[in-house]
Amino acid sequence: MYDFSKLRAAVLAGRAPDATAAARDALAAAVDPVEMVTAAIGPAMDEVGRLYEAGEYFVPELLLSARATKEVFQLIRPLLAQRGAKPTGRVVLGTVQGDLHDIGKNLVAAMLEGSGFEVIDLGVNVAPQKFVAAITEKQAQIVGLSALLTTTMPAMKTTLEALRAAGIRDRVKVIIGGAPVTPAFARSIGADAYGENAAVAVDLARRLVAP
C-alpha cells in the first residue's frame, strides 16, 4: 500500500503546497486517486474535525486544511470523474431571503468541499424559489440554510414550505444553522438537522447521504 503519510500530514497541517506536491507524487506513482481520497484525504479531514471538536484546532486550522484538500481535489477531480467516482454528495447552500451574512455559510462550504462534496453556493438573500430551482436542477441530496438574524429565521420556514409546495421536500435533507438558530427551532419548522458548526455540518451531511 502506498505511503500517504506526507499527504495526510500536509492536509492536517493545512499546508496546501505540500499537499499538492504529495498528491502529484502519488499520481506519478500510479496511485488510484480514489484510494487517495479514501486512505488519505478523508481520514485526514476526519482528524481535523475531531481536533476541532476537541478544542485543539480552531476555525483557521479548519480552513487551512480545507484549502489544502480543495487544491488536491482540483488536481484529481478530472481523474476521479474518468473513473466514474462521484462526489460524496451534492449540497445546495444559501443564506435565506433578507439576510446578507455569508461567512458562516462560506466556512461550511469550504469544509464540505474539503470533504469531497459538490457544493452549489447560491450566495445570500436567496429567495425560496431559487432554492427550489437549484435543488431540482442539480438533484441535490442536501440543502443547507443559513440565517444570522432572528428576523430572518422565519425565511427558513418559508423555504421549507416552498420545498413542500414544489413536491421536492421528500427528495432532499434540510440542515439549518446560524448563530440564533437552535435545535428546537429546527424541529419546529421540520428541518432534518441542526448544524451547530461547520465540522458538525460536514458530519451531518455525510450521515444524511449515507446509503
Binding site: P60, L63, A66, D99, N106, A110, T151
Partner: protein, 242 residues
Amino acid sequence: MPARSTSPAAPPAAPPPAPLTSETCDPLPLTPRREDIYRCLGYARRAAPPADVAREIDRVVAEALPHLQPRGTYSLYPLDGPTEHSLAIGGLVLEGNIGEFLHGATRVAVFVATAGGAITRRADERCRAGDAFAGWVLDAIGSWAAEAAAEALLARLDPHLQPDEGRTLPYSPGYCGMELAEQRKLFRLMRADAAGVALLPSLLMEPLKSVSGLVGLGPRALVRTDLTPCDRCPLVGCHMRR
C-alpha cells in the same frame, strides 16, 4: 378608479427629542493587538495558533488594515427613570430588560460605530476567488474592528462623567434586554448617517460590520458597570456567551 380612502391618515411620528450633546468621530483610533486578533478568530484566551498558522493569519491581517474605516457617532440624552421592563428616552419607549441594565443611570448615550464597508467587500472578494481562509479571517477582523471602534467611541463619553460617575457596559438590540426591532427607535435618536451607517428594512445595518446600542451614565454607587446581557439570557449554549 379605486375608491379614495376615507380613513384619516396616521399622524406623522413626532420628531425625536434634541440630545444634550452629540459627537461624530471619523476616523476612530484602532490599535490591533495580536491577542485581540487571535481572540476574534476564536482562539481561547491566552491560546495562540501554531507558528505556520500564525504566519498565514499575519499575512491576512496586513491585508485587512488598509480596508478598515472605523468611525462612529453618539447622542447623549437625559434618562427618564428606567423601569425593569422599559426605558424612556425623550418620548420614545424602549421595551425589555434594558431598563434593568441601565438602572441608576441619569443619562444615556445612543451610539453606532462601524468598521466601514471596505473590509466586508474585501472578504467577499477573497471568498469568491476561492480563498475561504482569507475571507473568513478578513471578516473576523471586520467584526473585531466594529467592536473596537465602539470601544474607542464610548471612551469619548468619559469627559462627560462627573468624578463620582461611571458608565455601564454597552447594550445592543437583538441581545438579551432589547428586541432587534427596537433598533428602529435607536436610529431615530441619533444621526447614524453621519457615521455612514444605514438601517435596512431587515434591521441589518449597512455596513454589515457595525455596532449600535445604549450606554448609561450615572453615579458609580448606583449604575451597574459589569452587568452583561449574558447574565439574563436563557441561551446557555450560545458561542458568544461572556
